[in-house]
């Protein structure tokens, strides 16, 4: 245990790991040190000078992001001296900043705005006319907008493209207070992870083109979920809002720090997949193409399932949660129906890369495998030719293969309005991926739980609740 040393922070004696970065340790102690350039994923750069602390024995204040923890260190993060130092540095950062918070999308989650308000720099000591002007609203490609005036040159974005994606699109051009961030001439952002620089940017210099002017961030509510874009199951924040007189709507996904799964980032496809959630939804239950109430559809399904259990094939998908899969698996074990999880259509080799993306574009195949649900192609084709009743549950396999339904009775559970609807005898809408609670196991066997925070005006029933209703209706008949 020689690695543990005693240090004093703000008059309190604490134990810390020798050699650790001081700012990391301060974050762990819930001490809020203002900083721009330091980010745990990108490491120390030491250019913003905001994270100054006083260390006894040093002649002048030190940046805590580049100070290793040493035995007997006495650190002060508060006090008149150090706060004055920080104030002066912040005023320098703000010299050429346009302070256009009203039009800036970052307002509300902007570090510079927070420090500016706390510091109370309402009157600039510099004439507004003499501020250095730069380009505003530059489209960098890949859904990223750049505003060079708002930039504090922390270089988090350039370090991200240099060190994380290794695509090197961004750099700093010109000198002194004319320095600006930009892409190299004729180049656009090209990495599939580009939008992460929007989250990394501590100010409003890099903003999302997709989210641009859509909402003010303080109106948004958030819940924790996972991305369903591939079997990596990256942790995300879902930012949504039920506006007055409107329905609950998702505005954006943000990556959530999770060292077991995705670290700090997510890919752009995953980030923009929030649009799929509400697109093309199935709303009405129907029997033979005629719209019916959910109750009627449930009774119809219960009738069909109890009538010929031995002639029924249930096709589930890796988009269902562990709980839903377990419920359906138990049902098939009890009454002799057959279950398959065959879903080759979700594999896409071109999607995989060496960072986060995997080739399996479904979130819970590992969970399905853990429940020993058969995915074998040969078994599935055999069953498909034998069975007369096919129950398709959130599985898009038949999307372009409707001819396989010939002479069969088809029951479709779906959250999406698919072409299969036209060939199904009974159609029942179910809640979408983020509208229900459940747990999902990713390709690395990490199980994560979603507790949905979405409150629709007219919520569609979850598969669990609908399936339980069918089970109890079947029992009444038996």
């Amino acid at each position: 245990m020689s690695n543990i040393v005693n240090i004093v922070i703000d008059g309190k004696e604490v134990e810390a790991e020798k050699g650790a970065v001081l700012i990391d340790y301060l974050f762990k102690q819930d001490i809020d040190i203002p900083h721009f350039c330091y980010h745990p994923a990108l490491g120390t750069d030491g250019n913003c000078r905001m994270c100054m602390v006083e260390i006894e024995g040093s002649k002048r204040p030190q940046i805590s992001c580049d100070t290793p923890v040493k035995e007997g260190m006495v650190v002060r993060t508060q006090g008149e001296n150090i706060e004055q130092v920080r104030r002066d540095i912040l005023e320098l950062e703000l010299i050429n900043h346009p302070v256009d918070c009203p039009t800036c999308d970052q307002a509300g989650e902007c570090k510079l705005q927070d420090y500016y308000m706390a510091g109370g720099f309402y009157e600039s000591r510099l004439e507004a006319e003499s501020k250095v002007k730069a380009k505003k609203a530059v489209d960098l490609g890949k859904n990223v907008m750049l505003d060079q005036e708002r930039c504090v040159l922390c270089t988090r974005c350039t370090r991200f493209t240099d060190e994380i994606t290794h695509t090197n699109e961004l750099g700093i051009f010109s000198r002194a207070d004319h320095s600006v961030i930009s892409t190299f001439p004729g180049q656009e952002l090209e990495s599939d992870y580009s939008m992460n620089i929007v989250d990394l940017c501590p100010v409003g210099a890099l903003t999302s083109k997709d989210f641009r002017f859509n909402q003010r961030v303080w109106f948004l509510e958030s819940f924790e979920a996972i991305c369903s874009g591939c079997s990596k199951g990256c942790s995300i924040h879902v930012d949504h809002k039920k506006e007055k007189y409107k329905d609950d709507q998702i505005f954006r996904f943000r990556p959530r720090e999770d060292h077991d799964v995705n670290g700090y980032f997510i890919c752009d496809d995953g980030r923009l997949s929030y649009k799929d959630e509400n697109d093309n939804r199935l709303n009405d239950a129907s029997i033979n193409q005629e719209t019916v109430s959910t109750k009627e559809a449930l009774t119809n399904i219960a009738d069909v399932l109890t009538a010929n259990p031995n002639d029924t094939l249930l096709l589930v998908s890796p988009f269902l949660s562990n709980e839903e899969l377990a419920l359906i698996k138990e049902y098939t074990l009890n009454n002799g129906t057959t279950l398959s999880g065959y879903s080759p259509q979700y594999y896409d080799e071109s999607f995989a890369d060496d960072m986060l993306r995997t080739s399996d574009r479904s979130p819970n195949r590992a969970g399905m495998m853990a429940l020993r649900i058969n995915e074998n192609e040969k078994d599935f084709n055999e069953l498909l030719s034998q069975k007369k009743v096919i129950v398709v549950i959130e599985n898009s396999y038949f999307e372009d293969k409707a001819e396989l339904f010939k002479d069969k009775k088809v029951i479709l559970f779906s959250s999406k309005d698919t072409k299969v609807k036209e060939f199904a005898n009974t159609v029942l809408p179910v809640a979408s991926f983020l509208e229900k609670d459940g747990s999902y196991t990713n390709s690395e066997s990490v199980t994560q739980h979603i507790k949905s925070g979405i409150r629709k005006n007219a919520p569609v029933g979850t598969l669990t609740s609908l399936w339980k209703a069918i089970e109890s209706l079947s029992k009444e008949k038996a």
């Binding site: 039009t103 859509n214 003010r216």
Partner: protein, 168 residues
Amino acid sequence: MGIKTVKRHGDTLRDKLYIPAIVSGMKTTMRHFVTNIKDNSNLITKSYPEVQPTDITDRYRGVHRLTKREDDSISCVACYMCATACPADCMFIEATERTDGVDEKMPAVFNIDLLECVFCGYCVEACPCDAIRMDTGIFSFVADQRKDFILSKEALLANTRSKDFSDD
């Protein structure tokens, strides 16, 4: 704790008779009646709406308006500060990109539902651009359908500062 007995009022014979009280009340009524019959120029009550009030102060919070810049374009940058401050939640704004080079952002939709508005003036206080004001002097707003009480961006821009108010 002791109990304090308070003497009940109105127990005297004079109070119980009621007549002296009625007489003294009628005396006041008749005095005003005679004064007003002789000279009605000092009457506080007005024959509204034929006679309109002339004493609305500059600080009166009337129906809102959206102000314009010197180049006659809209001042509002759709920052949602007014909607954030609004306690009645009666402002419905949708922002869009501004392409005329004056600014970056402007409202595509800016609706105020006057039936929901409580005329508190917080939106005017919150506005960082002096883009919304309540100095139209309009105190009466009439319509016969609910949807007509929702003022659009165009209607708000068309409202002007009351002519009765001073220019500063």
